[in-house]
Symmetry: D2
Subunit: 234 residues, 4 copies
């Protein structure tokens, strides 16, 4: 079994300055070139904080990140591609025959040796039949029906910083599925290396809300009462 | 094994008239109410033809269709949700435990009894282990890693008529995967019942191109030479 | 000057039941047809409340609303079309010559008779020159450069219930521009007539947040301190 | 009057190699890092040609371009922001008071001295009243109703290469409005400087179709008969 591997293969250079410069355009009378030149890192940083505090998130769309993601299960890639404001190019099980079998084993299964044993046997039996079907001349696009969700896949994903903040707000919540939580932690780590201010904003939703909106809290933030109606609030 | 079942559970009433009325707004000085009342079915039909001929497809976004889809494999649902300009709510393998095992068997496998036999055995062994893991207290979201791509799923999908035409242009091409071709044929059949003019436009891309742009044609339309450069064309 | 006119020309029938049925699909083992039949209005209502409380908003995308909007200024239509997850067909100033001049006058201008007088004169001078240019054979697409942002336009807009809730969260805030606030109040009134439960959720963002995130509150909800860091919150 | 100014302030480094590497992921069994290293410029170029010939456009989404655009009219920015698969941050007429008046004069107006004279007088009268209203304490968001569509604006736009090809296919057609044609010619020129292979694909739709689908051709490509029905084509 391989490990998950995430690499940031490309991104908007100077992502935080790009966002800050774009945001200044909407409220400033000076030219964009001037805005760009005047933007010190400190000023950019402070502008990002203001945007976040005010919930003005659209300028964050101007910074885009392209990741290579390898070693996640098809279970997880199926969840990942549900984020529609992003671009994906995924290894095709129609065109690529999987000679070697790489697959993910959940920790709850590894913890139970008797189940783990059966798990490996069933997954390997599936791969063996897959290989037999290919040898028998069946198309890979049909043989793959027998492959389990555990089978690893690879893909390239591009996502802008606004959508990345949104996806992290959902997928870094400990109520999300463990494999996708792990993936987003690696995406965050990659962003932190090149854009520390942005990376620091890739957090579960409770960081922004100030409370937990799940039915039971993981302990990071308490749950809260639903907001009072406005007439009561006055 | 269940059969695929597709039902149109909801759609924009009067979809063709809605599209035609919207299109008239852009070029007419009269009010929208007047436009609506003046639109006979024949006039709407003729306006749709003009829009299609001119490639003015945005008014087709005003008609939306909501389908219940049951009995497709996870292999196919993973492809389906890659159409991003649509809305999906899919049965979750995290929250729903699959007591009964419904799964898809590709025809190329059914055609080979010795492979088919093994296929059923492997798929059933996977489901048996899945059930054992659930009984042993493992969460469904982990047990499902062993389930094959063949396992059936159900979902609700909403797609507007413009995206439906685009998705059909790709998925009704015989080079697409057989299960998704079958699904889109059923979606088209549903649309034809309530909007025959629109339904008739749900076709593989070659109908609109007038040629086949795949490397080998299925015979419906011939492939073509790439377009000449404009200076040569003059 | 005309008044703004908003009409709901089409929408997903049974919008609340459609949303509730879609939401049930993700967590229920029964078929979609059964789900649909079992859904009483009270059950649908209660499901919508649960979805909203948990922030599970994607099922709300399955209900779509198509509005005819007439009599808003080009100033406002330019803001409106910035909501990208929606479909618009707008009267074209390239193809439609505006014989009669309909335009919007802000209340702050009407309140100052000497400015209002000048305003009408300047707007009418612009329209007069526009008409002269058309008579002189200039294309409408060029003559329109002289027309003010006040000039009225009409359009058809389709938006699903999730995006409608999002757009209202921004545009019903009293810090939004008065004309677009008024437009969204009319959109909300239309939805309330056919889907009271949904319509009741079309509110400024503070209703959901439980506080005001603008720099100064209108009084409906108080502003709040930014959320504490999670380590402090524990 | 200022001239339009377009600058490419940021873009995905190595855009063509990024697209080619992503595309290879879908059909190759080797790791993404290996794919990246093996990709010579010639190989990337040839892969892009294959993708374009086959109409596989989704990998082009992985390269994104961020432009500063200054000196276009509000008439044109209103058209531009209708391309929804892009990100915009535009100078706000709510928050920025336009002390100096910069505006666009269409060539058909400049060509007619008597009309041009009136045009300047009407536009300047509008700006004068605008300034008076600001001095009288009216908010900029209301005073701007009097400003003509000719008034210049500035914005930052990010668009990926797939959407840029699509937008150019519509906006480089000589049937598009002259100002937006000019803008997209400048966007193309910027892309050509850093990604010549991609830039060469930013063309009006007829280049790809091999014919003109407008009612009257500009001469670059001939119009064509609508495609025959498939049964006739066989």
């Amino acid at each position: 079994m391989d490990l998950v591997h995430v690499a940031l293969i490309s991104y908007t250079p100077d992502p935080e300055r790009t966002i800050a410069a774009a945001a200044r355009v909407s409220v400033s009378p000076v030219t964009i070139t001037e805005l760009w030149e005047r933007l010190s890192p400190e000023r950019a940083d402070s502008l990002l904080s203001q945007l976040l505090a005010a919930g003005h998130l659209s300028p964050f769309e101007h910074a885009s990140f392209t990741f290579a993601i390898e070693g996640i299960s098809r279970v997880t890639s199926h969840q990942l591609v549900r984020h529609r404001l992003a671009s994906y190019t995924q290894q095709s099980q129609r065109y690529v025959s999987l000679k070697k079998l790489d697959y993910v084993t959940p920790a709850t299964i590894s913890a139970r040796p008797e189940l783990e044993n059966k798990y490996h046997r069933v997954v390997e039996a599936a791969h063996e039949l897959y290989s037999q079907m290919l040898e028998a001349g069946l198309p890979a696009e049909d043989a793959r029906y027998v492959l389990p969700g555990a089978v690893e896949t690879r893909l390239v994903m591009s996502m802008n910083a606004r959508e990345l903040m949104h996806a992290c707000s959902l997928r870094l919540c400990l109520k999300a599925q463990w494999e996708i939580v792990g993936l987003f932690e690696m995406l965050k780590a990659e962003v932190l290396k090149v854009a520390p201010r942005l990376g620091a904003e890739l957090n579960p939703k409770c960081y922004r809300l100030g409370y937990c909106d799940e039915s039971v809290s993981c302990g990071l933030f308490p749950t809260r009462e639903p907001p009072s109606a406005p007439d009561k609030a006055k």
